[in-house]
Symmetry: C2
Amino acid sequence: MIQFYAPEIETLPVLPPEESVHCCRVLRMKEGDIIRVTDGKGNLFECELADANPKGCLLKVIRKESVPKYWDFDLTIAVAPTKNIDRIEWFVEKSVEIGVDRIILLQCEHSERKHIRIDRIRKIAVSAMNQSLKVRLPEVTELIRFDAALSMKKGKGYLAYCNEKYERKEFCQNYKGNHDVTIFVGPEGDFSPEEADKAVSAGFIPVTFGKCRLRTETAALFGVQAAHIISELKS
Amino acid sequence: MIQFYAPEIETLPVLPPEESVHCCRVLRMKEGDIIRVTDGKGNLFECELADANPKGCLLKVIRKESVPKYWDFDLTIAVAPTKNIDRIEWFVEKSVEIGVDRIILLQCEHSERKHIRIDRIRKIAVSAMNQSLKVRLPEVTELIRFDAALSMKKGKGYLAYCNEKYERKEFCQNYKGNHDVTIFVGPEGDFSPEEADKAVSAGFIPVTFGKCRLRTETAALFGVQAAHIISELKS
């Protein structure tokens, strides 16, 4: 099953250029074919291809359906992009497949990477949404400074922190599931002690994810999966 | 913290060539430096570098420690390599970081990939073990035909199956944690109905991982993480 993304479908029933090329050139779909389209805002549309134009496929909406979210809580993950950008792109793909509401890209004191190509990362998010047949596109922020990101906490805040300065709880034991949650995962060099202090003052709980040393992107995905699995078990 | 791998250290206290190059050329370590070495069999060695030879570093073992496994059960994941080999290599890296005992590479009826470079995949496993400071190298099999792999089931068997022919349970609700478990994840084209029949006859339980359509490698990693998280919660 193939899904396309047309964010403005309700006011402009046209597939964006890239999706149109994919539809006409790669999949060779024709006028009259029926396709599945989402607006990334929770709606699913059954559409007929009215004009198979690779610059912009015109759609005739046959049916609209509002799809409930699979999970009952708001899940925000904030992560510092890795030096090797492949690793964070991989994380975005996987976390969107599994399910996340918001990805904050963090600029930390120890971040080795100061720039990201946000358009590329958002494209990966769209593709993962379509691939996993989801109808909500997670928000993916630009790089945001750590201090500013702290105030974006929604629900309970957790800080995956490696330094042993703070007594750390085990995330899987502390998070009770089905409640809004925000998880911060630091860069390869960890959060700085000052960043950790600020997070704790802002109400974040320092945690570990099991007993193993995980790479940044592995820890971030572990957080996303753990939030879902715990919520599923406790529901 | 850096860890090296020397599988035969107890009889031949020398780092293999690749590890030796990494040690001498990349990290520029010298005679007299103290390094952390594992044999991949559960033992950790504190060693002094007796000869920093990039062709084979000679080690003087100072201390040996047997390290208990982080988890109390045996976890086998069987997965069909994806068409795009990067995806399965990524899975091997991540699952070794999180923790797995055995990775079976499955040859299924719908497999698009008939060959793998097992040496490359095993190298990734070694690197992920060292990176996450683990001291047990998971077994990674050659490609094994589905029928033969069924008999390798250890503990309870689960089949992540997309087809709705069988009533499927939710893995997170069915697996109780801390018991030996074997999870089979099919290729991009899913298991064939005949394969599913054979697995069910062999005692495998058809399951889903949540409500989302996951790629092969995402599903496999989800299985690994779910087994750990459920075990952590139930312990």
